[in-house]
Amino acid sequence: MEVLVILIPVSLCLGALGLVGFFWTMKSRQYEDPEGDAVRILRTDYDDSPAP
């Protein structure tokens, strides 16, 4: 059971990392244009001006 002492903090940290990632996507407005982003990724030229 001692392994819990390591595993629980590790799992919480990983979860928190995901949460921070989510915050970042919100802050950088990545949900503004879902349809546009879905087709942009298929462009042949490199998208050199992502949303500010």
Partner: protein, 725 residues
């Protein structure tokens, strides 16, 4: 690798992109750029984005372009003082339609911020729920003593801050109604979340078996999800509606001696002399001081024929100047204009509509008190059974509260409305009012306006001219912006007749056009002016030959199908129009509407609808004119086409963006389907409660059972919502 090194071999996409990005960065540095917004109704694919973005950013006055495909909009950063028209023509040269949007109207970012805030809370609740669920699985599968206590403490550590942060929208809403002594759904939700967390904390401290941390969190998560969907749906409709509003850039041309300047409409004061160009909209109420022209008043009165006006004629804001530029002196501005006083009618009716009891309200009114009563009953019963053991009684009361809490109910309406509004949005209908879908499902009578609603409000040439005459007519007519001239040009191109060359064309404002063709005088205009006798208003005179020209209003796409569909379903249709009898009869006969009324004043229309309401009918009103505003607001539910003035769109519950009227009928189908899905969802919630409440009451509801019951009912409700067609 040195950055300055000339790139010999481009190894990666970034190497190709970097020089471009750097040149762009260099461009952005000089002078602060100004933001322009454009609506691009026709963009639809990756190639469209690419074409517009690359081609526009090649222009030297454009710093940056970003196309948003979801909202069909482009944000352009350009040098200050770049005329909007330059950017528009650049976009149209690429083959896309562009409409300028007023950035000030659009910057209503508040709803966006509310949605982002909810998403943030939802994310935190989701993260906490997942972790606590994992910890709870260990407890459910038999962890005991020190291990169980450790897991409970960990759960408490995650849950308490989360519950305080994520569930705040519920607390504030509950507090608001409690302060005025009422109950809403958020009261039991708040109680359940707070009691469950508090009770679990107490159990954890006193080494108890059961903690409801996971239940408190999943309750928060599911209910926030419902709240988020609701917010998102409304913000989509609202942003589309503000976009429509932003298309009408409110400016006026003010005469300053002999100079003309463009001013914002708020800055116009009574007495200002304004120029109204041909094809322009009259900005304020006023009196004509120079010039003669025709005005299109169909928005105000429903008349399809233009009215000729001259010096000293009064004109009202919203009328469209058809033939020649005129100067007007403002007599009423801002809130004193006729347009504005009509728009005021709307706010009165708005309050009437907010009194409508939605299904969710009715469910909440039964549900909220029942939940509290059941929890209190459970507490009292178990106090009595255990002879005063507060801990056991409290535990069971909390279990009852959690089980009965309207988790599925909170999702039942928003999930269905989101799916239904999404469907309607795709078929070109914006749902503006929260309860509009429900009201649309209930209608049993339809009232229609004629001009601009069933018809486009644009004339169509009926008289069959010979090819030669038509060619001459088109040749002279193409010099004018008058709708009837346009109709002649259109008729010619439809028949494949190319316009003849007509020389020396002059326009007699408000009367007609004169020119020369093959040495003969050609006149197109009013019969009186051309000096001949005719049964119709407009004549074409070539030499000594006179042709009477007859026009009619062209019907909107799908108008006939819509009326047929209503008739087959047995829904009575009435036509109320401000137009003259002849024009109304013509349209009514063509569409087969028997119940028709002509020359109706705005007040008559309201009266008619009030009579319908009193006789128990639930009327759908479709109209576009300012003379319909009152009627739109008193109708049970109302739809306005997107071509209507802003005041009318504000009054209507829904806006029809697509020109095809058939969509109205499919919208009714969707609304009915949505309504039955909502009712089904309520029954699912009711059945679930009938099974779960006795179990909780008897004291058999463990945290595991609560978790399973809550998730299942929420998932069933969401899946059922997806069945909405």
């Amino acid at each position: 690798m040195n950055i300055d090194q000339p790139a010999g071999v481009m190894a990666c996409p970034a190497c190709i992109a970097t020089p471009a990005a750097m040149s762009r960065a260099a461009k952005t540095v000089d002078a602060a750029s100004v933001e322009y917004q454009f609506s691009l109704p026709t963009v639809h694919c990756a190639a469209c984005i690419q074409t517009i973005e690359t081609q526009l950013s090649n222009l030297d006055y454009v710093d940056d372009v970003r196309v948003n495909l979801t909202r069909k909009r482009a944000t352009v950063h350009a040098r200050p003082q770049t005329p909007e028209q330059d950017i528009i023509s650049a976009i149209s040269a690429l083959g896309y339609e562009a409409v300028p949007l007023d950035s000030a109207t659009l910057s209503a970012g508040e709803t966006d911020r509310a949605a982002r805030d909810l998403a943030m809370r939802l994310g935190v609740a989701g993260f906490a729920m997942m972790n606590v669920m994992l910890l709870s699985v260990a407890v459910w599968s038999g962890a005991s003593d020190a291990t169980r206590d450790l897991f409970h403490w960990l759960s408490a550590l995650i849950t308490l801050p989360t519950v305080l942060f994520s569930a705040r929208p519920f607390y504030t809403s509950a507090w608001r109604v409690i302060r005025v002594g009422r109950l809403n759904m958020d009261v039991p939700i708040t109680l359940a979340i707070l009691l469950a967390s508090g009770m679990s904390l107490f159990e954890t401290i006193s080494h108890g078996d059961h903690a409801y941390f996971d239940a408190a969190l999943s309750l928060t998560f599911f209910l926030l999800a419902g709240r988020y969907l609701d917010q998102k749906m409304r913000s989509v409709a609202r942003s589309a509606a503000t976009e429509l509003a932003a298309m009408e850039v409110p400016t006026a041309l003010r005469m300053n001696g002999t100079d003309m300047e463009t001013v914002a409409i708020q800055d116009v004061v009574v007495g200002d002399v304004l120029m109204v160009q041909a094809g322009g909209k009259v900005p304020v109420d006023g009196r004509i001081i120079s010039g003669v022209t025709d005005m299109d008043r169909s928005f105000l009165t429903g008349e399809s024929d233009p009215v000729s006006v001259g010096i000293n004629s009064d004109v009202n804001a919203g009328e469209i100047n058809l033939s020649a530029p005129v100067q007007i002196q403002a007599t009423a501005v801002g809130e004193d204009t006729l347009l504005h006083s009509l728009a005021d009618l709307v706010s009165v009716a708005e309050s009437a509509k907010s009194r409508y009891n939605s299904l969710a309200d009715r469910a909440a009114r039964i549900y909220a008190p029942a939940v509290h009563l059941l929890a209190i009953a459970a507490f009292v019963l178990w106090m009595w059974l255990t002879a005063g053991d507060v801990r056991v009684a409290m535990n069971i009361a909390v279990a009852v509260l959690i089980i009965t809490c309207p988790c599925a109910l909170g999702l039942a309406v928003p999930a269905v409305s989101t799916v239904a509004s999404g469907r309607l949005f795709k078929s070109g209908i914006l749902v503006k009012h929260a309860t509009a879908l429900e009201r649309l499902a209930e209608i049993d009578a339809v009232v229609l306006d004629k001009t601009g609603t069933l018809t486009f409000g644009l004339p169509e040439l009926v008289t069959q001219l010979s090819d030669d005459d038509l060619a001459v007519a088109a040749g002279i007519a193409r010099q004018s912006a008058h709708p009837r001239s346009k109709a002649i040009v259109q008729a010619a191109s439809a028949r494949g007749v190319s316009a003849a060359t007509v020389a020396e064309i002059t326009e007699e404002p408000g009367m007609g056009l004169e020119g020369r063709h093959n040495g003969e005088t050609v006149r197109l205009g009013r019969a009186v002016w051309a000096g001949c006798v005719s049964s119709t208003m407009t004549v074409l005179q070539i030499g000594t030959n006179v042709h009477s020209l007859e026009f009619r209003d062209s019907l909107r796409d799908g108008a006939a199908d819509l009326i047929d569909a209503f008739k087959t379903r047995g829904i009575p249709v009435s036509l109320l129009s401000g137009d003259v009898k002849m024009a109304v009869d013509q349209v009514a006969d063509e569409l087969g509407i028997d119940n028709k009324f002509h020359e109706m004043l705005p007040q008559d229309k309201i009266e008619f609808l009030n009579q319908c309401t009193q006789s128990g009918q639930k009327v759908l009103m479709i109209g576009d004119g300012l003379n319909d505003v009152g009627a739109l607001s008193v109708a049970h539910v109302s739809i306005a086409p997107a071509s209507a003035l802003e005041a009318t769109r504000v009054a209507a519950d829904m806006v029809l963006v697509s020109p095809d009227l058939r969509n109205v009928f499919s919208a009714i189908g969707t609304a009915r389907s949505a309504r039955s899905r909502i009712l089904e969802n309520f029954s699912v919630a009711a059945v679930y409660n009938m099974i779960a409440v006795p179990i909780a009451f008897a004291g058999f509801a463990t945290p595991l059972a609560a978790a399973i019951a809550m998730s299942t009912s929420s998932i069933i409700v969401s899946l059922n919502a997806l069945r909405t067609r």
